[in-house]
Amino acid sequence: MQQPPTAALELVCPAGSLRALQLAVNAGADAVYLGLKGATNARNFAGLNFDGPQLADGVAYAHGHGAKVFMALNSFATAGDEQPWYRAVDAAVAAGADALIVADTAVMAYARDHHPTLRLHLSVQASATSHEAIDFYRRHYGIQRAVLPRVLTLSQVGHVLRHSQVEIEVFGFGSLCVMVEGRCALSSYVTAQSPNNTGVCSPPSAVRWTETAEGVESRLNGVLIDRYAADEPRGYPTLCKGRFEVNGRRDYALEEPTSLNSMSLLPELMRLGVRAVKIEGRQRSPAYVEQVTRVWREAIDAARAAPDRFAAKPDWTATLGHLAEGQQHTLGAYDRPWR
């Protein structure tokens, strides 16, 4: 059932570890999302994510404090080795997770056929950018919520919402993918590993930093992603955020290393009837998650109490700016300055 538009906007926070989960819940997350160790989710990093016992502890902790747990199972099952994905669905059910975040129709079909009461959220990795696309997954797999890709404008979000029979969740804060998620093979083109096939983008194992006469270079599997002068801030070489040459001009040809912050849009998101706002960053530290959650909790409560007077407080913005490592904040596609 679709929630009435008056339902509170849910704050959904990342948990890359049990510690991050606990801090997010304590700081006011309505729900946390997490993944199992391995390739079954789109943040497959060493030292991150949950094993079986941690999952049980995490669900118990969250439920004990009135928060929900969503499990991300949003990469695509490997041909000939689908069992880890199916077992992860079973594990989510056994642990009492409140919903599964899914992208692969193989996984959705398994959940539908074996656990028909399990709540399914459509992952951003499913690349559903229109109400027709969302409706496809609702009709065939019974998804109850869709997370919208970070490429839609605010008015497009509103349009999708008005024509959808499921809840809508949008990204609020964190790293910005300029490419449509679930349809980006840039990483596998360079490293053989991609978000779809192994749950990683520009994997750390392929990164090399080298000091050269022309500056410090970052390479991904040998491909020069960026070169920094001594006084330039250096960023992780996510390959769409590198500097490249087009027609003799060197520039950020795809995406500048900015970070998404849609906090100023909170009253509008609520007015549109957006059901949940998601904070990106399961790969971030527990301390980061705690601070971002606390700021967004305050902001959402303030926007609910007095939507017409809402403005992001300077100390919130400062905290988020500091956490984003000095990067510029942007409203991303919501405000599409490039349109």
Binding site: F136, N196, D251
Partner: protein, 314 residues
């Protein structure tokens, strides 16, 4: 006769870059005379492009069918607006030609209408179960995601035990792979070509028409890396599986997609026909393709599960 039973159907993929109307018509006049079996038509990248209108595509489709080609109409890959959906419905609701679904919006319209359809390369089919799900809904052919290795294709749709289309005595789903052309690697709401020219997307002046094969992007140390094609990012290298005939057969592939380029495309089709279907040696054909390749050369890494940009010798 032995060759006949194992013929690879050759599919001309949609033109991904933006060409003037006359270039487009000239191109398809050559395709009509080529040994290609199937032609996929339509603007799949950007809804602003207007050299060919929906009626033009339909007229062209009829002409190519008269010339003996199977014609498939493709829907746009990134659907963002109601106007995009209107165009999509116009294609997906006609019954004269088979439709290739570009995204799940198209799947929704097609499955409601009950028509058979082709799964385009951007529908994420990574396992047999996912393919089976779509076959149940009416898929009759699938174009594998470019990054999927041939070994995985053999798991998804094994030649010995293929996924079948719905219905009794239904035929096996045909597996098609991209066998030649720049790889479509990513899509964005942002137009990178307009961005490069310091223009906004809505006032882009259609500058993507300046570059018939896209705008080359190189690394800072001068290596051709990617090609910008409006909202689409392609590989600079042209993916090429002309020397993988046996491996393609073993993986259950029966159809090869050749993605158009502005120059020498008729030669590309001829070379694939000779090597794949007439027993000509791959070595010379590969040399010829290398000599006429775009900046970035040839690559085939994806076929063996390596980085897509690499060239792995047989």
């Amino acid at each position: 006769m032995a060759m006949e039973s194992t013929r690879f159907a050759l599919t001309v993929g949609p033109v991904l870059t933006y060409w003037p109307r006359q270039s487009m018509l000239n191109f398809y006049a050559e395709v009509a005379d080529s040994s290609a079996d199937t032609v996929v038509l339509g603007e799949v990248v950007c809804s602003r492009r207007h050299e060919m209108k929906p009626d033009d595509w339909l007229a062209l489709a009829t002409e190519l069918r008269t010339a003996g080609k199977e014609v498939v109409l493709a829907t746009q890959i990134l659907i963002e607006s109601e106007s995009d959906l209107r165009t999509l419905r116009r294609i997906a609701e006609q019954r004269e030609f088979l439709v290739e679904a570009g995204d799940a919006s198209a799947l929704n319209v097609l499955t409601q209408g009950g028509a058979p359809f082709v799964l385009g390369p951007h529908i994420n089919i990574y396992s047999r179960s996912a393919l089976h799900e779509h076959a149940r809904l009416g898929a009759v052919r699938w174009v594998a995601p470019a990054e999927l290795p041939l070994a995985s294709l053999a798991h998804v749709n094994p030649p010995a035990d293929p996924v079948r289309a719905r219905g009794e005595h239904a035929p096996a789903l045909a597996t098609e792979v991209l066998a030649f052309g720049r790889l479509p690697l990513a899509f964005s709401a942002r137009c990178f070509t307009a961005r490069h020219h310091r223009l906004s997307k809505d006032q882009c002046e259609f500058r993507c028409a300046d570059d018939a094969d896209g705008l080359l992007l190189s690394t800072s140390d001068g290596h051709p890396f990617l090609a910008l094609n409006g909202i689409q990012t392609q590989s600079a290298a042209q993916h090429c599986l002309i020397d993988a005939r046996e491996a393609l057969h073993a993986a259950g592939v029966t159809r090869l997609r050749l993605s158009p380029c502005a120059q020498h495309f008729d030669e590309v089709v001829t070379l694939f026909e000779r090597v794949m279907n007439q027993g000509a040696p791959a070595t010379e054909a590969l040399q010829a393709l290398g000599a006429m390749s775009l900046p970035g050369g040839l690559a085939n890494g994806y076929a063996t599960g390596r980085p897509g940009m690499q060239w792995a010798g047989a």
